[in-house]
Structures are given as structure tokens and as C-alpha cells.
């Protein structure tokens, strides 16, 4: 019998089926991921769903074993309810409802974007950050204000991770493209001019993608410049855009903490840039540890705990998935009062 209550969190918004066990004090007991990797092209929702359906029980069992728990030790089920690929979200919700009813324990739904921020607040020991959340599916600059995580800036078209992945595919770099682009970029310092599009605090990456793709297709490619030069220029342009809007948001909100999270947070060059502007504004800079920056079940479990402690469980009707939910639509009851 475990002394603290335990939540099991299920992440199922895109390629990752993640299960994490977290106790009610915020201690992460285990974290196991199964990641769908496409043979070619992007994520096909039906194929991702199939993979998750085939693997969900194994991942849950692995997470329980790792935490030295039995399924009977679980006191709360949390699942990613929004936003994401509909067919994939459904699997998470389905498994969560099933477990909740079998075990007769409460379940809560969690917004995936908010979970990325909450796990950062927990693990990086910061309270009220300005967050830059960068991944394959999202690019959001947000901060807590008037009861919600307000969005100050976001992409107007494709997310930064999507830009990197799509460019990698065009350049025939195997999945995942981000780390490989980062390594290629290190080998160059030759900047090729690319479109830099910042609109207020919002960003647009689609023109940048097209321009980078054209560099690959040009007859000058591999004569006057090479792939490393394009990778370098792509990163420098896109990350400078991200850094500029983040800095504007820091100046605007006057937050004293900056949190970098999401899969692209692993990029050292981006970390360096965001760190630099945080220093300039005397803000504490934290990167969510890699394991927790990408999609994972622990962030869902922890956010579920926060929600459950402040507002209680969901009834069955409330567990319906919401693939398009914006994070600034959701009120954050746990931040308006103190929780122990």
C-alpha cells in the first residue's frame, strides 16, 4: 500500500502514447512512452490510432512496473482531452473511461498545452513564468493572467516543429528531423537571406518553409551553398523570430521567469537565444528537462491532480474530447487559490 495518492496520466494527442504515474505531492514515479514513427510523410491519424490501440496496455503495465505499483494503487486517472488529432484523442479518452469505471476511481480531462506548462512549473521550481511552448503541433507564447493562460503570441500558420520536420522531409533527412538540422547547422555560419515574418507578437513560418524548400530546389544548391548553410539559415531565422516575440511578451507582461518547453525546447541554439533575452530582462530562465519537455503522461497526471484537487472529478459527459480547444479558453482554478 502506497502512502500518497497516485494519479495515472495518459497522453494521447499525436504520435506519443505516454503513461506517467505521479503522486499527489508531485513526485514522478514513472514515465513510459510509445512513439509512432511514420515510415514516410507526416502523421496519419488512423495509423497512429492503430499503433496506440496495439500498445496502450503494454505501456500502462510498464509504467506500473517501473513505479512498483499495482493498478489497484491508482487513485485518479487523467487523460489528454484537448487539443490534438481527434482519432488519437479518442483512444486516450476511451482507455481513461474504461480504467475509471473498472477501478471505480475518478477521472479528469486535461488540456495538453496547459500540461506542458504545469509540468514545467513543477519540475523547474518556478511559479509564474512567461512560457514559450514549441513543438510539432504548437508554437505559443503564453502567461497566466486573469485566471487563464493567456496567449500573447502564436503561429498564424504552421508550428515551428512542423517547419523543421517538413524541411527535413524535403531534404530527405530521416525522422526526427529537428536534432539532425541542429547538427547540420553547427557546421555552417553562412547566412542565406530568408523571410523573417513577425506580426506584432504573432509569427508566420509558412513563407520561411517555402523559401527554404526553394533553396533546396535551386540549381545553385550544392554549388554555391550546401544543406548545412540552409539548415543554419533556417534555424537562425526561425529562432530569432521566436526570440523576438518572446522578448516582446516578457517586456509586455513583466514576468520575471521564462519557461521553454515542448519538443523543440531540446534545441541548444534556441535555448541559448531565449536564455540571452531572459538575462537581459533579469528573468530566471528554465528549460523543461528533455524527458518532460516532449509529450509525456507525467505532465497529464500532474495537471489532472491540480484540476482534481481544485475542482473535483469529471462526470462522464464532461470527458468528451475537444480536438480544437484553445488553452486560453480554459479557466485555471488551481492558480487562483493555494493548494497543498
Amino acid at each position: 500500500m502506497k502512502s500518497n495518492k497516485i494519479a495515472l496520466g495518459i497522453e494521447s494527442t499525436a504520435h506519443t502514447w505516454g503513461v506517467g504515474l505521479v503522486d499527489f505531492t508531485g513526485k514522478v514515479l514513472s514515465l513510459v512512452n510509445d512513439v509512432y514513427v511514420p515510415e514516410k510523410g507526416g502523421l496519419h491519424p488512423a495509423l497512429v490510432r492503430e499503433q496506440h490501440l496495439n500498445n496502450f496496455m503494454r505501456v500502462i503495465n510498464d509504467a506500473l512496473t517501473q513505479a512498483k505499483c499495482s493498478i489497484k494503487d491508482i487513485n485518479l486517472i487523467a487523460f489528454s482531452q484537448s487539443p490534438g488529432l481527434g482519432p488519437v484523442l479518442k483512444i486516450g479518452a476511451l482507455v481513461a473511461r474504461m480504467l475509471g469505471q473498472l477501478l471505480k476511481i475518478p477521472i479528469v480531462g486535461v488540456n495538453h498545452c496547459i500540461a506542458h506548462i504545469e509540468i514545467g512549473r513543477l519540475l523547474c521550481n518556478i511559479d509564474d513564468p512567461l512560457s514559450l511552448y514549441v513543438s510539432g503541433g504548437n508554437t505559443i507564447v503564453s502567461a497566466y493572467e486573469s485566471g487563464r493562460y493567456q496567449i500573447f503570441g502564436e503561429t498564424l500558420d504552421i508550428p515551428i516543429g512542423n517547419l523543421l520536420d517538413s524541411f527535413a522531409r524535403e531534404a530527405e533527412i530521416s525522422h526526427p528531423g529537428g536534432p539532425k538540422i541542429e547538427n547540420l547547422a553547427k557546421k555552417s555560419n553562412r547566412y542565406l537571406t530568408l523571410p523573417y515574418v513577425v506580426k506584432g507578437m504573432d509569427l508566420s513560418f509558412s513563407g520561411l518553409f517555402t523559401a527554404a524548400k526553394r533553396l533546396l530546389e535551386s540549381e545553385k544548391y550544392e554549388k554555391e551553398y550546401n544543406l548545412c548553410d540552409i539548415a543554419f539559415s533556417l534555424q537562425e531565422t526561425a529562432f530569432a523570430m521566436l526570440t523576438e516575440v518572446t522578448e516582446r511578451a516578457i517586456a509586455h507582461t513583466e514576468k520575471t521567469e521564462v519557461l521553454l518547453t515542448g519538443g523543440v525546447a531540446a534545441n541548444k541554439r534556441l535555448q541559448e537565444m531565449i536564455n540571452s533575452i531572459s538575462d537581459e530582462h533579469n528573468a530566471k530562465f528554465e528549460v523543461v528537462p528533455l524527458k518532460y519537455a516532449g509529450d509525456n503522461g507525467a505532465m497529464i497526471a500532474w495537471t489532472g491532480i491540480l484540476r482534481y484537487k481544485s475542482k473535483g472529478e469529471f462526470n462522464l459527459a464532461e470527458t468528451i474530447i475537444n480536438p480544437k480547444e484553445r488553452m486560453d479558453n480554459i479557466s485555471i482554478p488551481w492558480r487562483s487559490k493555494v493548494i497543498n
Binding site: 537562425e236 540571452s276 533575452i277 480544437k324
Partner: protein, 224 residues
């Protein structure tokens, strides 16, 4: 010999530029200095700073043609990316908004709507209409500042995006006043177009909601 140009004190350190107060041949001025950003590579940094300095100075001067209040530009230095411009004494709308009566808020935002309409009708996009970039003087004149993201465009899309940005700022920073202020803004904006017999505002305003529905994670039922 007395120095004719003196930089006296730092007034504001923004994300992009530092604003210094000082004197220029006896006149009270602001030095807007676009700071070198070490985080980006030199080539990109220089390009961005130079383009924005020139853009801003040109726009500040150009829009005066339509009697829009902007600080007078005295000098430009692209080497240090600095604009020396007239010092406007007043308060940022951002700081003032909470202290204003309902009728004053309505009045200011209606006027602002007319000002932005004049810009748009003449093919100017401000590019960063936030409440920090609007100065209200003691005589209640409205000054537009920070034209660093200014652009020339006649497209409906660009004009809608311009207004959409203001809308976003009002929601995120002045949530309680959003409806009142934004409706007043639209009223002024429309009136200016109508007074000039220009019907384009219909499409511009309609396009704002299209932009919103195009955003990420918009519910299906709200999509067009």
C-alpha cells in the same frame, strides 16, 4: 562650445529599442535606439535594425500628410540605428485606460478607430497597434508611435490583421474593457470609411473573424 545634441536619461528599455530623453539643438527629443541583439547573428541583426529604423522614420513622416499625430523626426542614423524625434509629453493609453471614465474610453477609442481608418484608407499598415504604442497628451490629442513594423498595403487581409492585433491586445491586457473599447474603435473606424463613401470596411471587419477562425484550435462550428 556647448554640445548641441545631448542624450540625458534612459526613459524606457523596450524589447527592441531603448528610448532616451535628451536635447537636440534646444528641442526636447527622444532618441530611439534599436539595440544590437546578441542572440541573433550579426547579418540578420543589422538588416532587421536598419530596415526597421528607415521604415519607421519614413512612416512617421509620411503619415503626417493625413494629419495623423506622430512625433516629428529630426534626425536618422542608420549606423547606430537611431531616430531622433520630438518628445511627446503624455501617457501611454495602456497606463491610462483604467483611470478613464466610460465616456472618455469610448471617445478615445472612437477617435483611434478613425485614425487607423485614415491610415488604412491611404494604404498604411501600422503593424503593431497596441495600447503601449498610443500616447494621449494632456490636451487629449492622440499620438501614434512605434512604426517599426509599418508596411504599405492595400490588401484587406493586412488591414484586418492590423485590427486583429489590437483586438488581441485588448482581450489579453484589458479584458474588462475589451467590449466597450473595441466596439467604440470599430464604430470610429466604420464612420471614417463611411464619411468618405468607402465601403471597404465591411470586408475588412468581416475578414477579422475569418482570421480568427483560421487560427489554431478553432471549434468547427465557428469555422466559416
Amino acid at each position: 562650445m556647448t554640445r548641441k545634441i545631448t542624450k540625458e536619461k534612459l526613459l524606457h528599455k523596450g524589447a527592441e529599442a531603448s528610448l532616451f530623453y535628451g536635447h537636440w539643438f534646444g528641442k526636447e527629443v527622444i532618441f530611439k535606439h534599436r539595440i544590437i541583439k546578441d542572440y541573433r547573428i550579426e547579418q540578420l541583426d543589422r538588416t532587421i535594425r536598419t530596415i526597421r529604423t528607415l521604415n519607421e522614420a519614413r512612416a512617421l513622416i509620411k503619415v503626417k500628410e493625413y494629419r495623423i499625430n506622430t512625433p516629428q523626426v529630426y534626425e536618422i542614423d542608420t549606423e547606430s540605428s537611431t531616430i531622433i524625434m520630438k518628445y511627446i509629453s503624455g501617457s501611454k493609453l495602456k497606463n491610462l485606460i483604467k483611470t478613464l471614465s466610460i465616456s472618455k474610453k469610448k471617445d478615445i477609442f472612437t477617435k483611434l478607430g478613425r485614425i487607423i481608418a485614415i491610415l488604412h484608407i491611404n494604404g498604411h499598415i501600422h503593424g503593431d497597434i497596441t495600447t503601449s504604442n498610443i500616447i494621449i497628451t494632456s490636451s487629449e490629442d492622440i499620438f501614434l508611435i512605434d512604426f517599426g513594423l509599418h508596411d504599405y498595403s492595400d490588401s484587406i487581409e493586412d488591414k484586418s490583421v492590423d485590427i486583429h492585433l489590437l483586438k488581441r491586445v485588448l482581450i489579453s491586457s484589458h479584458g474588462d474593457d475589451f467590449k466597450l473599447c473595441f466596439n467604440a474603435f470599430l464604430e470610429g473606424y466604420e464612420s471614417e470609411f463611411r464619411d468618405r463613401g468607402n465601403n471597404a470596411y465591411n470586408d475588412i471587419i468581416k475578414n477579422i473573424s475569418i482570421i480568427e477562425t483560421r487560427g489554431r484550435y478553432v471549434k468547427k462550428e465557428n469555422r466559416l
